[in-house]
Symmetry: C2
Subunit: 522 residues, 2 copies
């Protein structure tokens, strides 16, 4: 590819003549940016922890973090500088605002605060860049419309827009399941899944079809085919999955309701990672017709929202169950002891606040079944069912799914009938134990074992976090119980969900109870 | 609605303690913004022609223009301030960068340069705001996908993305024609229009279905149902139409090819207004099958692109016509005399430069038929055909189209058979005259009579510009001749297309010739 030549003919205007050397530094920066000369760019930013650089993905604070971002991104899109406007403060300080003409079309803007020092010459201490919006964010969506599917009635969800996880059938549209080859071989659906129709019948519209981890078989939210959806709450972090697209769509304001599924945590984990409300419903309470299965014994339908009020409205409407909640609440010290101290501490402090404010009674302590053994049981049954659902397709389409998901299917294929049958027996026992516990107390746990890891975390780190999280989330799956993740906690690294698990059928009461805890968030 | 209370609890960090009074001014601004207190906002911006305010729609320069923007917008979206970061310069100057949490979701950023004076206290001299990207821009698109329709072959258009004007049939999708009620009653198409298939067969994909003026019966680009697509080249200006969506999609970088139609200027005008390449093809050269008609005697298919090279590639591929160009070029002083002096002057200066650079021969002068009479003839036949195409639907759906377009259909309905027949006779004569002229010279004219008017222009102003433009563009329509609008001219108010009109069938030669004139643009 030919060297890109920076055109320095843009007109420069401002409130005063530019200080000496400034425009030369501006063009030096532009040349370094276009050449992706990272050392030169680093040298042109003030080496200080207060230095700022922000764009549509978030604000980076500190020279070190900005330099790391630059090293990772592989260059900036090519552009021309169309106009430069200056606000000169004094001989050593000025703001330069540039109108950008990206070669890929549209207009952008760059605002830089420059300061001169005798040691370092002109350097940037703050930068703010705007790039043109894309037609669609392919990391979040497969297809979007205005709307994609209209409501069929007016109702209590009038004006709400739904991001449908790419597992639900919609008449006239294909199901892609996060796997390009699966999408390519799919035919448009003839019927719309009842979980979708129910929202349309209450006044909501479908904004679009949103991404999922491959066959929903992950809780990370990473998709190598379409790009990892951005975490709208924590710049640079993974979104959580497998309902990654609906979660990112809702967190970023591109939809108000995520229609999703939760087998092993696929709603609760992205809710926790992105500061959303998320409900995994009672197993079987919402029809799974027209839903591509992963593991039918655990698959549930649910919703992600930014507000507890909206989640409560949906739940009351679609699950007007009469089952109430037990009066007692409980925490599980055995679960908390396995967690990183800041997560356990944040959780305990949150519980203490809720008790102190009189929002929950003082929780009792409950011992749950051994988490590692429970997860092993859960995983064996999940794997056997996942292979039953997708094994033939996976076998016929080698290489169609990638990395960690392919590895999971390889393990699933190896589960013997005997192993499955043994796990099912164990599962029945565990379910009985858990339902007994939930019969007279609401269980409070962290929705995930960590805040959202950065996308740069190693596969090993992500896997360790995954296992720790599944050791919490699997209990609701085993019990077939509803669990809401409420965005009530946070650490310095990001939001953390407070998960409430109630007895089967208590979905509405559980969400109503959770929404009354919101003062904690402030 | 309850008063919105500004929460001032955000953490404030920076390189030094804040100067006295700054944070109070920051919160005063925030309260004024949330209350849409325009006088207070105006008072908090430095009253100077160099003051800056930019966002995704473009950069506004000068206090007056910023104030006018504020008066017109009807308030900013409600938001919380999540973090404030300061770069303190001295006691009277500081940059404040705020991370924004819009109530509608996502994250935004605001950068403000503050300065203190004894007369005015703390004021902003430059501001840069980023809002979260929407899932889809409903002004530009009806539906988008990744892709919406895949290519059927690899070919010379591999990697190109097409914005299809909402008039072309695509299998599985409806045609909306810019009219919500028409869309609501449409059924999904069973076949894909050949104009679309031809691009898919050459490697391009369909990015989405883009907006049009109602039934394509306008050249303004204003659509009251879906919002007026933004002009990507001139902040605040109308996009030009009726191929407004494809043009805005291409100009903003959201697609690389606009597949559009031109009856009376619907490709050339938005190309001129937004600095794009646009080709109206020879009448009948590209199949109009599967295209919702406006006036079949004039309807043509064509393309909009950012680069001349791409337009030439498409044209060579899909219209490999052997018809060459005459060696001579001509200008029409009669046309130029009717134009505003800056437009005529810009055009003449451009021609002089092309001659001086040896890119075109010295143009002869040609007298075209009387423009007002030609346009009247054109309009009568267009109206009769438009009523034939849509009159029954318009009659059955009162109120479905709005304003100027409804008025045009009312006039169309009144055209008598005698008027139409007389106009058709006249049209035949005019076509003969024009083809004789084009037989031995390429006609050079401005692609429009003005640069893009601001959206705030009165309907009368827009109508006056419309008529002046149609008096230029109608000649290619009458002649059935190809015309390319090349983004080679500009005034201080924005880009202006240089239109070349060639003999029927000369499309490829005409585009090739136009692309050789590009040095003019620099």
């Amino acid at each position: 590819m030919a060297e890109f030549t920076v055109d320095t003919s843009a007109p420069v205007e401002g409130n005063a003549p530019l200080p000496a050397g400034l425009i030369e530094a501006f063009w030096r920066y532009e040349r370094a940016l276009m050449a992706d000369d990272v050392p030169a760019l680093d040298a042109l930013f003030v080496d200080d922890p207060s230095t700022l650089r922000g764009d549509g993905s978030g604000l980076l604070v500190g020279h070190e973090r900005i330099a790391a971002f630059r090293r990772g991104r592989g260059g900036a899109p090519k552009r021309r500088i169309l106009e430069v406007h200056a606000q000169v403060i004094d001989d050593d300080d000025a703001l330069l605002v540039a109108v950008l003409g990206p070669l890929a079309g549209g207009r952008g803007q760059q605002t830089q605060l420059w300061r001169r020092s005798d040691e370092n010459g002109w350097q940037v201490s703050a930068a703010h860049v705007s790039a043109p919006a894309p037609a669609i964010d392919p990391r979040i969506w497969r297809i979007v419309g205005t709307p994609l599917v209209g409501s069929t009635e007016t109702g209590p969800l009038d004006g709400e827009t739904v991001a449908v996880k790419d597992l639900f059938s919609i008449a006239g549209h294909r199901v892609g399941a996060g796997v390009p080859r699966y999408l390519a071989r799919a035919t448009p659906g003839r019927v719309t899944a009842p979980a979708v129709s129910a929202l349309l019948g209450a006044g909501a519209t479908v904004r679009g079809i949103a991404r999922t981890d491959e066959f929903a078989y992950s809780i990370a939210g990473v998709n190598p085919h379409y790009g990892t959806p951005p975490n709208a709450a924590v710049p640079g972090a993974i979104p959580g999955g497998s309902s990654s697209g609906p979660a990112s769509a809702v967190a970023s304001g591109q939809a108000s309701i995520g229609l999703a599924t939760d087998t092993a945590g696929s709603i609760r984990v992205p809710a926790s990672y992105q500061g959303l409300w998320g409900l995994r419903t009672t197993h079987g309470a919402i029809s799974a017709d027209g839903l591509l299965p992963l593991a039918p014994s655990f698959d549930t339908v649910g919703w992600l929202t930014r507000s507890g009020e909206l989640l409560a409205r949906i739940t009351r409407l679609l699950l007007p169950s009469p089952v109430g909640l037990p009066a007692r609440v409980a925490i599980a010290p055995g679960v908390l002891d396995t967690l990183e101290p800041d997560i356990a501490g944040t959780f305990r402090a949150g519980i203490d606040t809720l008790v102190a404010e009189g929002l929950i009674p003082k929780p009792s302590e409950v011992e749950l079944p051994d988490a590692a053994a429970a997860l092993a049981t859960f995983r064996t049954v999940q794997a056997a069912e996942a292979w039953r659902a997708h094994g033939a397709w996976i076998t016929e389409n080698p290489g169609a799914v990638s990395g960690a998901v392919a590895e999971r299917f390889r393990i699933a294929q190896a589960v013997t009938a005997e192993q499955e049958s043994e796990a099912r027996e164990q599962l029945g026992r565990l379910r009985g134990e858990l339902r007994e516990i939930l019969d007279d107390r609401v269980l409070l746990v962290p929705a995930a074992a960590s805040t959202a890891p950065q996308t740069t975390a190693s596969p090993d780190e992500i896997d360790a976090v995954r296992t720790a999280t599944l050791q919490i989330t699997c209990f609701a799956g085993i019990a077939g119980a509803p669990s809401v993740s409420a965005p009530l906690l946070s650490t310095s690294a990001g939001p953390l969900g407070l998960a409430l698990v109630g007895p089967p059928g208590s979905d509405t009461a559980l969400v109503d109870f959770a929404t009354r805890l919101t003062p904690l968030a402030r």
